[in-house]
Symmetry: C2
Subunit: 127 residues, 2 copies
Amino acid sequence: MGRAKLPVKRIENTTNRQVTFSKRRNGLIKKAYELSVLCDIDIALIMFSPSGRLSHFSSKISDFQNKESLLRILHERRTDNDLELQHAAKYEPDPQEFTSMEELEQCENHLLDTLKRVLERKEIKES
Amino acid sequence: MGRAKLPVKRIENTTNRQVTFSKRRNGLIKKAYELSVLCDIDIALIMFSPSGRLSHFSSKISDFQNKESLLRILHERRTDNDLELQHAAKYEPDPQEFTSMEELEQCENHLLDTLKRVLERKEIKES
DNA sequence: AAGTCTATATATAAGGC
DNA sequence: TGCCTTATATATAGACT
């Protein structure tokens, strides 16, 4: 879009690729945010930027009844804290990339939330 | 967009909400696909539709060197197969919702992939 | 629930700061 | 790198099927 039509293929120029990433990442997050609000759904969006850093967006997750199996599993791996599932990740009006450990943990938490839901869904199907 | 400007708030009419979800979900997946190709990055997009079903998109994940910790962890939970990380999830030109166990497992796999990368990143920061 | 149409709202490629 | 501007490309709301 814009002044010229851009073919959907890898942008070879590094600078242009970074610029396009920044612009489109923001657009994508905005769209995801709107969809989550308009349709009242949960969305998780995870991206690894060209420079290797992690960006994410996740709409609010409202309800958690039983934080069992997956959390126990995680605790086997990480004994330093038990904050899992506490932060209901929310939309960041000013999207940014992760640079701090705290941010990484928030993303991890949301991934675990989502994974947990997938596993629960599987269990429903299996039973 | 379209004929009228839609305020970003929950669409109360169930039918309209479903229709908007279908349309915007496709748009969002297309945007995510384009971003992944243009900028050569990995993206995972997970949504729970208003009806509670799961939709997802994930760009290809190309490299996996050591599938250790998280996979061992998963195996404690699921002993029925060890297909994790095998399917490099790809763009689905005809986006669809998950209804089968196989699709759920693909999504689970991708979530585990992403989670694994987040954990690895944390380890790098911690060390 | 899923596709078509089309007027209008948005997103964004280039370019400039 | 990030923030404007603006011409153009896309996305999509509403109506209809």
